[in-house]
Amino acid sequence: MAPAIITENLTRTFGALTAVEGVNLSVDGGQFFGFLGPNGAGKSTTIKMLTGLLAPTSGRIELLGLDFAKDPIEAKRQIGVVPEGLALFDRLTGSEYLNFVGRMYGLDKATAQQRSADLLNFMDLADRTKTLITDYSHGMKKKLALAAAVIHGPKILFLDEPFEGVDAIAAGTLKSMLQHMTSRGVTIFLTSHVLEIVERLCTHVAIIHKGRIVAQGSLDELRAGVAANAAAAVGAAPGEKLTLEQIFLAVVGGEGTMRKSEEELAWLR
């Protein structure tokens, strides 16, 4: 399948700080793609650049064959986003917000209303008709943001920590919804600190560390790479199937940090 997301030498600096440097990504259409990295590695900066919230200092972004810099509006029509700050208008009700977003993405009034109702029902938010978003719980806000991201039927979905604060039942519903979307050809680009979720959902993963991509490929490819080079360093037995957490720690060097902290905080025992 043709790549849905391509970045070439994507770089972003903030004054003297280089947050993202020379990132080259290639994500095929219909892929469930996990984008991982430690805190401050450059994940959110990369997502912001991919969704038009932040201008790259240099480099190129292509979404579904569209150059983001040349045709941003057409590119934005193809994507749905659940950003870090959720992008909610908190003095609207959930239904008003979804209608508003639908209209912003070009849906006619009737379609926007129909889809809002469907999505609110799907997300189990339908009975909060008069509740303002500001009075929603964090999990409800997350679900609403996800509903807003899919209302126009995007071909690429960017999700920044979508399951944080969402209860297990809702998370299960959302996961099956997202998997259903990928089976219909939608590309999902997901960041999460919960590696078990990424391991269960994603077929491909990229790991960013200190602003640079340090690993990229399918989970099996990453497993093979780590098994050949650093399995012992993460305490894996020969032939053992590595978890994503072990792969992640091997790639970003978390093992040394763990041991060091245990030694330094011996008084905790």
Partner: protein
């Protein structure tokens, strides 16, 4: 597990929390040299102001005793009480009170929480000022009547303690009441009305002085049996040689203090047990789980991809317009601020009703432009200079959606125009009702002038809203996470905005004077019409550049609004 010592003592905990509070204040106030300088100046002025007010109270007490005015001391203690107790209400508006809830996770005794509450209550600037006023009055009493020193020394600490318990009790109860967003917004609206009332206290006092005096004289006894009245009455009795009555009044004052302390402790106990005052619990009652409903919801078809439609231009603009109207309806503070200036127009109209103006027939001619200019200065500045303020993190959506940002600003400006139109109609209605019709020439010229001023400010405001946005929270008057003085637009925007508003009004006035002098009143209309066309043309050009400006300022917009 390593051994952990017992919790620190009461004084140590008060000291630790006090230090944290000081650090927080210092790092908010003294982050820049300008901030530090302003902080020092502010404190010096505050100290001087406190000393002057205390001295005035002392002088009044001295005069009340030497002139033997029995009601004088009563009024003084009521005045001191009112000033002290206004502080909790001021804290509602500025959200300046110290929240002790986060401290509850520490191993803290209930007595420590009580001590902290009282310590911070006493450390509050309003309490320090209150104590200063009490001490000044005590000294004045002793100077005026040295023989009454025992009464003064007894009543002063009793009154201070009563005021302290009362203000802390009000604080904790207000916190409870205002935990809900709606209650908070209603309280803010009432507070704003009170503030307007205070602005016109002289005018109101002139109207109601006679009946009010008669009312207070008739209800004198009632005012003496309430806490501040008891303080004044106790001193009055002591000064008259009625020691027994004085002691009885002082005892009543102590009882009131005990009652306030009881109510305070009751609330603090609830806090100590982990009372939750958030809004979500009230807004979202626990519901029964309905498995069937969940199954049904999962069966709902998800939207299929639809990429054939581009957002219609009107859809974006009208969407933003409707959203702005909904936001206004749900923001009592903004609503109040928009219609508050109309009250001032009523006062302006009243001031033009004097016979000297009416005889010359100028009242209805000048009141409309004057009133409208006054309203526009306040309203356009408030609407246009920081028009993304309440969008918060929603601005991300506006930047991510496949839309031209120009349409967003157009929707906002349309909303501004509707509000300004309503204001113009209301000002005209007020002037018409109170002074008579201003005449077609004055009405047309004033409206054309208002259009010019509004379009100029929208043009400037669109630029500044994108260039230097500032987040505002609903139900407060301060910027999110910022100190009070940085509220609303940035200082530079406010300064430039005011310059533009006054410049526009001065230009309109100059054109009116010149055109009127050269060829009579109707030529003013032609001149204003040309001015409007020029303003619209500049507005259109600037609006076309809005999208580019928004994209270029994404960092600033997200950094300020979507934090």
């Amino acid at each position: 597990m390593a051994a952990v010592g017992g919790p620190p003592g009461l004084l140590e905990q008060v000291w630790l929390v006090g230090r944290v509070r000081w650090l927080m204040t210092r790092r908010t106030t003294y982050r820049t040299v300008a901030g530090a300088t302003a902080g020092v100046v502010f404190r010096v002025i505050g100290f001087a102001g406190t000393a002057i007010v205390a001295a005035v109270f002392g002088l009044l007490a001295y005069l009340a005793i030497t002139d033997e005015k029995r009601g004088g001391l009563l009024a003084i203690y009521w005045g001191m009480f009112a000033l002290w107790q206004l502080a909790p209400f001021r804290a509602i508006q500025l959200r300046g009170s110290f929240d002790s809830t986060p401290l509850l996770r520490f191993p803290m005794r209930f007595s420590t929480l009580c001590a902290l509450n009282l310590a911070f209550g006493l450390g509050d600037p309003s309490a320090i000022a209150g104590v200063a006023r009490h001490l000044a009055v005590m000294i004045a009493i002793i100077i005026a009547r040295p023989d009454a020193w025992r009464a003064a020394v007894l009543v002063t600490p009793l009154s201070i303690v009563m005021n302290l318990f009362c203000s802390q009790m009000l604080n904790t109860w207000l916190e409870r009441l205002l935990a809900q967003r709606k209650t908070r917004e209603i309280a803010l609206a009432l507070f704003a009305l009170l503030a307007i009332g205070l602005q016109f206290s002289r005018f109101i006092a002139a109207q109601v002085r006679g009946p009010a005096t008669a009312f207070f004289q008739r209800t004198y006894l009632f005012w003496t049996i309430l806490p501040p009245g008891e303080a004044g009455a106790s001193l009055n009795d002591a000064l008259s040689g009625h020691i027994g009555a004085g002691l009885r009044a002082a005892g009543s004052l102590a009882l009131y203090s005990g009652a306030f302390a009881g109510l305070l402790i009751w609330r603090l106990q609830k806090q100590f047990r982990g009372e939750y005052l958030g809004e979500t619990a009230a807004a979202l009652p626990v519901r029964e789980t309905l498995p069937l409903q969940i199954t049904k919801s999962r069966e709902v078809a998800l939207p299929r991809n639809v990429h054939a439609v581009m957002p219609e231009k009107l859809a974006v603009t009208s969407g933003i317009f409707v959203k702005e109207l909904k936001y206004l309806r749900r923001n009592s503070m903004a609503l109040m601020n928009l219609f508050r200036p109309l009250i001032l127009v009523v006062f302006i109209a009243f001031s033009w009703r004097q016979p000297s103006f009416r005889d010359f027939g100028v009242a209805n001619r000048f009141a409309f432009p004057e009133g409208l200019a006054f309203v526009l200065v306040i309203v356009t500045a408030q609407l246009c200079l920081n028009s993304l303020a309440y969008d918060g993190s929603g601005v991300q959506l506006l930047l991510m959606a496949p839309i031209d940002f120009r349409e967003v600003m157009l929707g906002k400006n349309l909303y501004h125009a509707v509000v300004i139109g309503i204001e113009i109609a209301l000002v005209l209605a007020i002037v018409w009702l109170l002074l008579g019709p201003p005449g077609p020439l004055i009405i047309s010229a004033t409206i054309l002038g208002a259009v010019f001023e509004s379009v100029v400010l929208m043009t400037f405001g669109n630029w500044r809203s994108l260039k230097q946005p500032r987040a505002l929270q609903f139900g407060t008057v301060r910027a999110a996470g910022k100190a009070v003085r940085t509220q609303k637009p940035s200082a530079a925007t406010r300064f430039m905005g005011l310059g533009i508003i006054f410049g526009s009004i001065a230009l309109l006035a100059a054109i009116a004077a010149v055109a009127n002098w050269i060829s009579g009143g109707w030529s003013v209309l032609a001149a204003y019409f040309v001015l409007d066309l020029v303003a619209f043309s500049v507005y259109r050009t600037m609006l076309a550049a809005t999208s580019q400006l928004a994209m270029a300022n994404r960092d600033e917009l997200l950094g300020q609004l979507a934090r």
